[in-house]
C-alpha cells in the first residue's frame, strides 16, 4: 500500500531519486576535490575518509528510511492525525513512522554503498573486520534511529523543535563524515559519551582500517557499536513513552 502511494507520483519519484543521488554525490566530490590540494585529513587518506563517509551515510540513510517520517510528528500533532493513530490497535511509533515508504531514500543508500564499496577494496579483510563492519552498519542505523526519535519527542512538549532536532541529526552526520582526528578532543569526548555518534563509524572504522586511535581511547570501544546502538534503542523506548504520556492533543 505504502509503496504504491509512493510510486503514484512516478515522475517525481525518479526526479527525487536522481536529485538525491546528485546532491549526495556533490557532497562527496567536494571531499574528493579537497584531496587534490591536501594529502591527508587529520592523517587519514582519501579512501579512509571515503570509508568513514560511506559508513555514516549508510547508517543515516537506513535510519531515515525506518523512522525518517517522525520529522513530521509536529504536523501530525497539529492536524490531529496523532489522535486518530492513538485509537488504533497498532503501536503508535510504528504508525507514525510507516505512513509512507520512502523509496527516495534509496538513492542515498545506493550512493553511500558505492563509496563504501570502493573504499573497501583497499581494506585487508579478516573475518573479525567483517564482523565489526556488520556491527557498525547495524549499530550506526540504530544510533541514528534513536536520535531521530528521541529528538522528535521534544515535539510532544513544545510545538517547535524540528529545526533543533534536524541540526543534531544531519549536523551530526556532517561531522562524522570527516575523520574525528581533525576535531579537538572535547568534541570527540562529547561524541562518545553525550551524543554517541562516534560509534556510528569512527571507532569501528579505526579497527577495520587498522588504525591507532589518535585520542588513545580504549580499544574495546571499537567493538561497541552494536551495544551502544541497542542501549540507545532501549533508552528511546522510555523517552518515547515519556513523550506520549505528556502529549496534550489539540484544543479543538
Amino acid at each position: 500500500m505504502w509503496v504504491r502511494a509512493s510510486m503514484t507520483y512516478r515522475v517525481s519519484f525518479w526526479m527525487m531519486t536522481v536529485a538525491g543521488f546528485v546532491i549526495g554525490a556533490l557532497d562527496f566530490i567536494g571531499i574528493w576535490i579537497l584531496f587534490h590540494t591536501i594529502d591527508s585529513m587529520g592523517g587519514f587518506s582519501l579512501r579512509e575518509v571515503a570509508f568513514l563517509y560511506g559508513a555514516t551515510g549508510i547508517g543515516l540513510a537506513f535510519a531515515d528510511m525506518f523512522v525518517g517520517r517522525i520529522e513530521r510528528l509536529g504536523q501530525m500533532i497539529r492536524m490531529g492525525d496523532l489522535d486518530t493513530m492513538m485509537v488504533r490497535p497498532v503501536p503508535l511509533l510504528a504508525q507514525v513512522c510507516s505512513n509512507e515508504f520512502a523509496l527516495r531514500r534509496l538513492s542515498r543508500i545506493l550512493l553511500c554503498t558505492i563509496v563504501t564499496g570502493w573504499a573497501s577494496l583497499y581494506v585487508e579483510w579478516t573475518p573479525m573486520r567483517l564482523l565489526v563492519m556488520a556491527g557498525m552498519l547495524t549499530g550506526g542505523a540504530a544510533i541514528f534511529c534513536s536520535i531521530f526519535v528521541m529528538l522528535a519527542c521534544i515535539q510532544f512538549l513544545t510545538a517547535d523543535g524540528v529545526e533543533f532536532a534536524n541540526a543534531f541529526t544531519y549536523g551530526g552526520n556532517t561531522i562524522t563524515q570527516y575523520p574525528l582526528a581533525i576535531f579537538p578532543g572535547e568534541v570527540v569526548k562529547a561524541l562518545t559519551f553525550v551524543l554517541p555518534l562516534a560509534f556510528v563509524n569512527w571507532y569501528p572504522a579505526l579497527f577495520i582500517l587498522g588504525r591507532d586511535d589518535p585520542f588513545g581511547m580504549p580499544q574495546w570501544f571499537q567493538f561497541l557499536s552494536l551495544v551502544v546502538g541497542a542501549a540507545m534503542l532501549w533508552l528511546t523506548t522510555f523517552v518515547w513513552r515519556f513523550g506520549v504520556r505528556h502529549y496534550r492533543s489539540t484544543g479543538s
Binding site: M1, A5, M79, G80, D83, T84, M86, V87, R88, P89, V90, P91, L92, R245, H246, Y247, R248, S249, S252
Partner: protein
C-alpha cells in the same frame, strides 16, 4: 462494575503565554476537575455542556489519548492511557471535526486497510461492511476518494470505519456537526438501531438537543470541567427549569403582556417573547393572549440545549454536590 468508571477525574493544561519580549508566563487551565460518573453496558448517554466545558478532553482521556492529571478511569476493566493499544480493539471513536479516514484513498481501500489494522475476521468484516453500507446508503460512494466526499458522506464513512471491528463502546464527539436535517435524522436512526441490535454502548457529545432527545436515555451535563447534572432526559428539562417560549406578534406595540403562568422575557417593537414552564400546556396561554390583545401571529419555540444549559448553569450549577 460498570463498563465505564470515572472517579474524581482531573486534567490540567499548562498554557504558556508570551508576556513582553522575552518573558513568558504560564498558567493552568483546569479542563476537567473532580469528574465522576459511571456508564453501564448498553446505555446511550448524551454528554453535553457549553463550549470549552471539557467534553472533548474527557473523551480523549476515556480513549487513552490524554493522560489524566488526577483521578482514575476504568473502561472495560482497563486503564485507557496505560492499555491504550489493547483497548483500541474494543472501542470505536468518531471525531466530528475531523476524519479518521485516509484522505487520498477511496472509501473501499480505507475499509480494507482497517480490516488489516484490526485483523478483523474477513468474513465478519464483509458482513459488517455490507450491513453498514446498506443502512447508511454508502454503496455508490465506495470508489470515491475521501477528500472528494461531502461532509455528510464523510461522516457516514467515518462511522462505518469506527464500527467495522465490532466495538463494545462507541464514542462520538459532535457527530452531527454541520449535517443537514435529513442526514442528522438518518444518523440518529442508525445509531439507535446499532444500540438496539448489538447493544453497543454510546457516549456522544453534541450541541443539538434533538440528538439527545432522539437517542439518549441519560444526559450528563458538564460545565467548567465538572458534572453539573447526571439525570434522565426528562429530569434534565425539569431540573434545568427549562421553559418554552411563545413568540407573539401584536398588531400594535404594547407594554409587556401580563398573563398568569407566563412571563415576558423580551420585547422588540410589536414582538414579545413569553416564557412558560415546559410541563405547562401552551393552549390556555395562547387563548389568554388572544383574548386580551390584537394578535397578528403566534409561534411556539421548544427549549434548546443552550437554554437548558444556561439555566442549569446560572441557577443550579453551584448548588449541585
Amino acid at each position: 462494575m460498570s463498563l465505564i468508571e470515572v472517579r474524581e477525574l482531573g486534567r490540567t493544561f499548562t498554557v504558556r503565554k508570551k508576556a513582553g519580549r522575552l518573558r513568558r508566563t504560564s498558567h493552568d487551565v483546569e479542563a476537567v476537575r473532580d469528574l465522576s460518573f459511571s456508564i453501564d453496558a448498553g446505555e446511550m448517554v448524551g454528554y453535553i455542556g457549553p463550549n470549552g466545558a471539557g467534553k472533548s478532553t474527557t473523551i480523549k482521556m476515556l480513549t487513552g489519548i490524554l493522560v489524566p492529571s488526577s483521578g482514575s478511569i476504568s473502561v472495560a476493566g482497563l486503564d485507557p492511557s496505560r492499555r491504550r493499544t489493547e483497548l483500541a480493539r474494543r472501542i470505536g471513536v468518531v471525531f466530528g471535526q475531523r476524519t479518521t479516514l485516509w484522505w487520498d484513498l477511496p472509501l473501499r481501500d480505507s475499509f480494507d486497510l482497517l480490516q488489516k489494522i484490526y485483523r478483523t475476521d474477513p468474513a465478519r468484516h464483509r458482513e459488517n461492511l455490507d450491513e453498514f453500507l446498506e443502512l447508511l446508503d454508502l454503496h455508490d460512494l465506495l470508489d470515491t476518494p475521501v477528500r472528494q466526499l461531502s461532509l455528510g458522506q464523510r461522516m457516514r464513512g467515518d462511522i462505518v470505519a469506527a464500527l467495522l471491528h465490532d466495538p463494545e463502546i462507541l464514542y462520538l464527539d459532535e457527530p452531527t456537526i454541520g449535517l443537514d436535517v435529513i442526514s442528522k435524522g438518518r444518523l440518529r436512526e442508525f445509531l439507535r438501531a446499532l444500540n438496539e441490535r448489538r447493544g453497543t454502548t454510546l457516549l456522544l457529545t453534541t450541541h443539538d438537543l434533538q440528538d439527545i432527545e432522539a437517542l439518549c436515555d441519560r444526559v450528563i451535563v458538564i460545565d467548567h470541567g465538572t458534572a453539573v447534572f447526571d439525570v434522565s432526559l426528562a429530569g434534565l428539562h425539569q431540573r434545568g427549569g427549562s421553559r418554552r417560549t411563545l413568540v407573539v406578534d401584536l398588531v400594535d406595540e404594547a407594554p409587556p403582556i401580563a398573563i398568569d403562568g407566563a412571563e415576558v422575557v423580551r420585547v422588540e417593537g410589536p414582538r414579545q417573547w413569553l416564557a412558560f414552564p415546559t410541563e405547562a400546556s401552551a393552549a390556555p396561554i395562547v387563548a389568554a393572549v388572544a383574548a386580551a390583545y390584537d394578535v397578528a401571529d403566534l409561534s411556539l419555540r421548544e427549549p434548546d440545549i443552550e437554554d437548558v444549559i444556561r439555566t442549569i448553569y446560572a441557577g443550579a450549577g453551584r448548588m449541585s454536590p
